[in-house]
């Protein structure tokens, strides 16, 4: 497949409200492969650009279950199977005493899954990305808001898409080289 020399067209906005409105209009105009960048999380913005499946909770649930089960099984196997110690005739499989470590292991594994699952689903770490080629994009981590239409979008057209974005009253529009 030939790689498009243009990664997408990016519009810059100066307020969160402008970005949300623009994202909404762009998505409604039929653009599917778009993304929005902001210096802080904006509620509802991801939904506006057509993002609905957040798998992080599932990853955390699976991680927590693995942690809890392995925590309990580890203690059971070590204390009751592999190295049973008779202390005052107390049962070797004394489950109430195993609850604390089972709980801690659940939290540990769920927490690790939350962080690394989030990073993996986001495709991070990725120190280089085409959007960084736009000089003004360095403000995306400060006070500017960006909307991009990727060139891989079906409706993408170098001129028309640019004209469409210019119609959204942005501060600037620039091409993102890939």
């Amino acid at each position: 497949m030939k790689r498009d020399p243009i990664y997408g067209i990016m519009a810059e906005f100066d307020s969160a409200q402008a970005l949300v409105d623009a994202a909404k209009k762009t998505h409604e105009a039929g653009y599917q492969k778009i993304d929005a960048y902001s210096p802080f999380p904006i509620e509802g913005l991801a939904e506006e650009i057509g993002f609905h499946r957040d798998e992080v909770p599932l990853v955390v649930l699976i991680g927590g279950l693995i942690g809890g089960c392995s925590g309990y099984l580890m203690q059971w196997w070590m204390s009751a199977v592999d190295y049973p110690l008779n202390i005052g005739g107390k049962p070797t499989h004394s489950w109430p005493a195993f609850i604390v470590i089972t709980f801690e292991m659940t939290i540990l594994f769920a927490g690790i899954s939350a962080v690394f699952g989030m990073l993996a689903l986001n495709g991070l770490p990725m120190p280089y990305h085409p959007v960084f080629n736009v000089p003004r994009f360095s403000s995306a981590s400060k006070d500017r808001f960006f909307l991009i239409v990727f060139s891989s979008d079906k409706k993408y057209h170098a001129l028309e898409t640019r004209r469409f974005l210019e119609g959204l009253a942005p501060k600037s529009v620039s091409e993102v080289p890939s």
């Binding site: 999380p41 993002f51 107390k90 005493a97 540990l108 989030m118 986001n122």
Partner: protein
């Protein structure tokens, strides 16, 4: 107290961020501390002192490794001594960081946004200091890894029915989750520093540390989900950690330890001392770096209220301990109470009551709750009081147990003190470095507090 707040409710509704800030100025102001403002002489002096104390810690530990725990004041019947007192004290201090970052996040207390970052850093450093003590207290610290269940040629496993093993898991989980929580919060701010700095090598370092964060809406969505879930996981975790620490005592049968009030009152005490440490750090930081607009009087006032509330829970714990000493009819429990009030350590017990219960009651006065200097000193008193509490629990109970033939006294040596004061130095040195290399206030969460951040559908 400034003029504009006429009554308590005015202060309650006071903004958590000073007026006139924009996304840009918030960013500049916080990142400037790291990127452009030069280190002052005061910073070098403060860091220098803290660094020397850290060296003293290493010296004390080095000598300990050469000679063994005999250089400490621990001797039968006092097997626990300073190491466990300091461990519990430091772990407790750590709790406020997680409380602020996780529990207050779930409760939508947006004022937390300006103090969560350095409170989390405080947690990490406090847990690091705490971790030293049990590791060197085991006697042969080079074998401390035996605490973990790893496959070994001796074909033995740890005893999972012991609360000391629970502690290993609770504290190591706590350290890991706190570090993750702190780091995940730093990622967007590291991206900000990457974009702000002029120096290429800093750009590369911050760029790598930020994992190439670019603030995509999809990323933010998953990020917020993960952050919220992590907060939800850290909330029961933080409550469990000091509960498990209290089990180290409560599962034992020593008089004064074997009580069910320990878990809640240890957790409350932990938050009590933790907020005191947060204030002792926040008050100088906001003054020196001119952050009064971000860490406002409302923050100080709220922290003081948390201290007042948790302090009262701690007071209730003392009350129940004393009541049960009398009501249980158990002669050893009754003697523990008598011994606290009239025994050789009575003076310490009265100091404890003064520091933890009586002096902090001045926080009912609003003028003192909003006065940084008064709060700074009251926080110091509370930290001393919470240390005394652990001293009373460990030393007083162990010196007077069931048989008076096995009674003794506990005298900490200079090595005990050097190790303890050394960890204070290590903690402060780490805080000094943190302030210079990472944003001490969460920049992206501060942006969300501005009115411009609100979006209508």
């Amino acid at each position: 107290m400034p003029e504009q707040y006429k009554s308590a409710t005015d202060l309650e509704r006071a903004p958590v961020i000073g007026p006139g800030y924009t996304f840009g100025t918030v960013t500049e102001k916080i990142s400037a501390i790291v990127l452009t403002r030069p280190a002052t002489n005061g910073w070098f002096i403060g860091f220098g002192i803290a660094f020397m104390l850290t060296m003293m810690l290493l010296f004390a530990l080095g000598y300990l490794f050469l000679k063994g725990v005999g250089i400490w004041g621990v001797t039968i019947p006092i097997g626990w001594g300073f190491a466990i007192i300091n461990f519990v004290w430091w772990i407790g201090i750590g709790h406020a960081g997680t409380l602020i970052s996780a529990i207050l996040l779930l409760l939508r207390q947006s004022w937390r946004n300006s103090i969560n970052r350095f409170a989390e850093a405080m947690t990490l450093f406090a847990v690091a200091c705490a971790g030293i003590f049990p590791a060197v207290h085991v006697g042969r610290p080079w074998l401390a890894y035996w605490l973990f269940p790893y496959p070994n040629t001796m074909r033995v496993w740890p005893q999972f029915r012991s609360p000391l093993m629970w502690d290993v898991f609770a504290v190591s989980t706590y350290a890991t989750i706190s570090a993750l929580f702190w780091f995940i919060g730093l990622i967007p701010d590291l991206a900000t520093l990457r974009d702000r700095t002029e120096k290429r090598w800093l750009k590369i370092i911050y760029g790598m540390l930020s994992f190439g964060w670019r603030g995509s809406a999809r990323h933010w969505h998953r990020y917020e989900t993960a952050y919220l879930l992590l907060a939800g996981l850290a909330t029961p975790l933080v409550l469990s950690v000091h509960t498990v620490v209290s089990f180290d005592f409560a599962i034992g049968i020593v008089p004064g330890w074997h009580t069910t009030i320990f878990p809640p009152y240890f957790v409350a005490g932990a938050i009590y001392s933790g907020f005191a440490m947060v204030l002792m750090l926040a008050i100088p930081i906001r003054k020196i770096y001119g952050l009064e607009d971000f860490i406002t009087e409302r923050h100080l006032q709220n922290s003081a209220k948390v201290m007042l509330a948790t302090g009262l829970i701690v007071a209730y714990g003392y009350g129940i301990e004393a009541f049960m000493g009398w009501y249980s009819g158990d002669r050893y429990d009754a003697f523990t109470l008598w011994n606290r009030l009239h025994g050789p350590y009575a003076m310490w017990y009265y100091s404890l009551l003064a520091c933890n219960i009586f002096i902090p009651q001045v926080l009912w006065i609003r003028k003192l709750r909003t006065s940084p200097i008064a709060l700074f000193f009251i926080s110091g008193v509370i930290l001393i009081g919470m240390w005394l509490e652990r001293f009373i629990i460990v030393a007083v109970s162990l010196t007077r147990d069931f048989l008076n033939s096995s009674w003794g006294m506990y005298y900490p040596t200079r090595w005990d003190w050097m190790t303890f004061i050394g960890t204070l130095g290590m903690f402060l040195a780490a805080m000094f470095l943190f302030l210079r290399v990472l944003p001490a206030i969460s920049i992206f969460e501060m942006r969300t507090l501005l009115p411009e951040a609100e979006v209508k559908e």
